[in-house]
Symmetry: C2
Subunit: 198 residues, 2 copies
Amino acid sequence: MTTKAEQRRADLREKLVNAAEARIRDAGVTSLRARDLAKDAGCAVGAIYNAFDDMTALVMAVNGRTFQRLGAEVEAAVAASQCAAASERLIRMSEAYLDFASANNRLWSALFDLELPADGAVPDWYRTALDRLFQHIAGPVAELFPDQPRAEQALTVRALFSSVHGIVLLGLENRISGVPPHEIRRMIALVLSRLTVR
Amino acid sequence: MTTKAEQRRADLREKLVNAAEARIRDAGVTSLRARDLAKDAGCAVGAIYNAFDDMTALVMAVNGRTFQRLGAEVEAAVAASQCAAASERLIRMSEAYLDFASANNRLWSALFDLELPADGAVPDWYRTALDRLFQHIAGPVAELFPDQPRAEQALTVRALFSSVHGIVLLGLENRISGVPPHEIRRMIALVLSRLTVR
């Protein structure tokens, strides 16, 4: 049974995650200040640290939501293209990834920018969410390269994801190689169509 | 002629860049504090802002050095492999990129992590350094795809660089897909050998 104190804590966590999500969306993860979040959630600054171990834990909770939304978009792309050829399915998934990153740029960046503690502990749900994303890529890869040993297929999945991630990341950044969205799509198609030639 | 005041300012800039470089190397760009740097350089905190417009300008000066060192490593790899086939040269360059990123991880990250002002002004030397890096990739790409129109070749250069960058970035990060260095090399070879099949 949930006690009243537990319920209050859960409500405060929810309010804080909402507030942090809105602020990351508007100004990026580096802009987060405990004072602002306390004001947004109508609590004392100290109360944040009763609800979450630290600010990193709060950002990780936002990242959890972002990862779920990203996963849902990629899954929708998979579902919508299940009759297409394997390489085409990979391209559609990658475009869904690009669209999500583009529409939710700062929330998506926070998935990668958050500095984790030096002990490198990555929460289980984070690994699970990533594994699900990789599973979607693994399907078409296994179809395309049925003769590759499993370890080689796993490496191919990582290489494909990393390549698309790099194209999306640098493509959306003005600094390095910012290019118009249709050129990002062309780069994705260029790389994936070549990488997936049997 | 350089006045004494100008010389003093140049000396202080040099000291501050050295101090910032050492601190970024040890603890990353987010750890930089004006107070610490003033102590390192033996100046008042206010003096930093006489030598540089702001902390971003100081970090950009460190990034300029890092970019030069990175460029020199890639150029050495180009020089050492000039008789090799085009795709092999791309792989050697990418390995030099990986080695540099691995040995100078936080300085290399600062090239990409530094948030620039919203007006998006990127210093000319930054674009120049990047263009030089892209030129090294453009040589083998032009050899491999002589019939591609120039615009298509330029897109291929960006796509190759972005893919290798993504593999290095995520490969070196424990969080997402941290893998042993030899597996990062295998992913680079896998992607580049497939991408450069004529």
